[in-house]
Symmetry: C2
Subunit: 429 residues, 2 copies
Amino acid sequence: MAVQTVESSTSNPTVDLGPAAALSCRECGHRVPLGPVFACEECFGPLEIAYDFSAYDAEELRKRIEAGPSNIWRYAPLLPVPADVADKPNLNPGWTKLVKADHLARELGVEPGKLFVKDDSGNPTHSFKDRVVAQALEAARAFGFTTLSCSSTGNLAGAVGAAAARAGLRSCVFIPHDLEQGKVVMAAVYGGELVGIEGNYDDVNRFCSELIGDPAGEGWGFVNVNLRPYYAEGSKTLAYEICEQLGWRLPDQIVVPIASGSQLTKIDKGLQELIKLGLVEDKPYKIFGAQAEGCSPVSTAFKAGHDVVRPQKPNTIAKSLAIGNPADGPYVLDIARRTGGFVEDVTDEQVVDAIKVLARTEGIFAETAGGVTVGVTRKLIENGVLDPSLTTVVLNTGDGLKTLDAVAGTGLTATIRPSLESFRAAGLA
Amino acid sequence: MAVQTVESSTSNPTVDLGPAAALSCRECGHRVPLGPVFACEECFGPLEIAYDFSAYDAEELRKRIEAGPSNIWRYAPLLPVPADVADKPNLNPGWTKLVKADHLARELGVEPGKLFVKDDSGNPTHSFKDRVVAQALEAARAFGFTTLSCSSTGNLAGAVGAAAARAGLRSCVFIPHDLEQGKVVMAAVYGGELVGIEGNYDDVNRFCSELIGDPAGEGWGFVNVNLRPYYAEGSKTLAYEICEQLGWRLPDQIVVPIASGSQLTKIDKGLQELIKLGLVEDKPYKIFGAQAEGCSPVSTAFKAGHDVVRPQKPNTIAKSLAIGNPADGPYVLDIARRTGGFVEDVTDEQVVDAIKVLARTEGIFAETAGGVTVGVTRKLIENGVLDPSLTTVVLNTGDGLKTLDAVAGTGLTATIRPSLESFRAAGLA
């Protein structure tokens, strides 16, 4: 992937992204002004947002948040967005339901009242991607980009297309040319450019990096490439919402799916911020990572005690998690170990079973990624790794309507003639 | 359909459904106690809920609502549900986004800031059906029913299955046996009984009515049959939310899809209640009904100046609106005429075009029913019937992911090789 750098300086006065003060290298700490860059000019490490929260008073901040809108912008003071973000046209994602899942708790052997599902299928395009794209959109506006772009094989394409449409920006999304027709339709309906690349997903990514370095890509914001530092921060809002919805309390345990690993690391960042800001009591919490066995580079490394993640070739129905070489894998290992968590994986069969269990017990129809987290939660409880007496939050990051194939075997429980006799004979009374 | 009646009396002290005082016949005004009945014993007219709102003070009520949860239960004081409804496991639908649709406004020639889309795809199972089923669920609990049931060909099946799962009730949903596999999966995943009936939708309905009158159906609540008076009230919440989200103001114009016509009549009921309670200023508003040309019995009657609706055999892609003999048709005609509105229809081609326009301008991917309302809005403006200078709310009642076939023609805008040369040649830069 092409690496872009900028000259270091202390600030960029033309960019208003609220409390975002600079970009800071996660590896070496080198700081550069806010800009559309993602890799450190010194060490090529990933850049992330550094904030100035120094002016905040905990009690005032809490009140301000609680008086805010029913979406992620209630947390605008903690995000790389301008203060007036809620007034601009955007999809206003977030503030999704935290469901007290007592029936699922009974099924998994968790104490009643202790298990919650954070259901991000309630977002505008029905996945957590709306949270991250909304941040990238603000960065794109701040940097004067006119085209919002990404490489994608699924959820992200729709999220970018929809966000650009609402904002009145052009969008151009790159996908492998032979993607399933259903997924193409879900992305194409928003009317942006949808370009099929003759090649696989790696080819698509390589081409996007080339385009960023070329004059042809001028004015293009790739949400998950040159806008990645901003984009990634959107996952912090999951941490904020969970704590606020628990009554400004940290959960004891949280189960997060791993694709690139970015979501898990940003949830940890969000929880740490709430502690430092005094919005929640400082107490231990454990973060658990969840993968599908068919793409389990991080859980494999975790169980082997390794610090590095060996890439795998994905082969799982959990397509939205199928990143064989997860960029944030080492950070995920750090966090799981530091917090006393674990990284586990489940088979595709267990994923399907978990989707059905969640739907049957709580009426939540999850994407395969939700089957992964629920399945892993069950496995961690059975293995004695996750404590069923503590407050536990399981993430569902997407919607079952997008991965219908996973449960295609589900069907009629009976077929009868339209008569009471036939009804009784079927044993349904 | 079998008609059930109960002995009339003044009250039913064992049933706590909050402010719901009795059932009242819409035709003759005859009152009966709250119970699982839907037709008047005197004249066979439809029963609806009569409330006792006499104790409410406008200012106190408004504050109580605003302090309530971010779902329909903020309006519990105005619904046939017990006061503690929010504490029980249910899907907590509602409080969906009212989107200021400035790009769509520009496209349709509406004054900026005046056009809004009420986007009910944000509900838990992604259609407005969650609102009505949630009311039926509370009635089922109040009457001691243990099975939640319905006849359905789509959205309702999923809404009932999910609601029953969350509540811990059994569900049994009846559908035509030859429904498309995708729709079967969406309904079956919640794990309830899903029974295919050898016959068409009329056969399914006839069978359900038989079952209600038979001992085999004892303890069964059919949300859209014997619980219909409760169920229908859920649509009032659309009116409440729209007004509250407009800052406790009535919209000037509102465009509502017509299937049975129940939603439109209950929205009018909700607006009237807000006026009478003093929560909004009393001023004129116009209600417009929207149908697909392939199932347009109400718009046909409206334009012909008839008071009765002649049944049609539906033939449209807007399946969720395809009720050829709409029970509330005459009431819809009354309301459209009384308020100075209109009932219009659009072709399937215009429906598809409107789905694309809404997605392209606002990033909202609507079900075919949403294409009907947006398409009709455009037509009403073009014909000078709807005033583009007034505040207008258009309903989107469902999610495009459930009717992907309607836009199946949408696809890639270009296919290129993974090279800048190929990119430039495609004219995408």
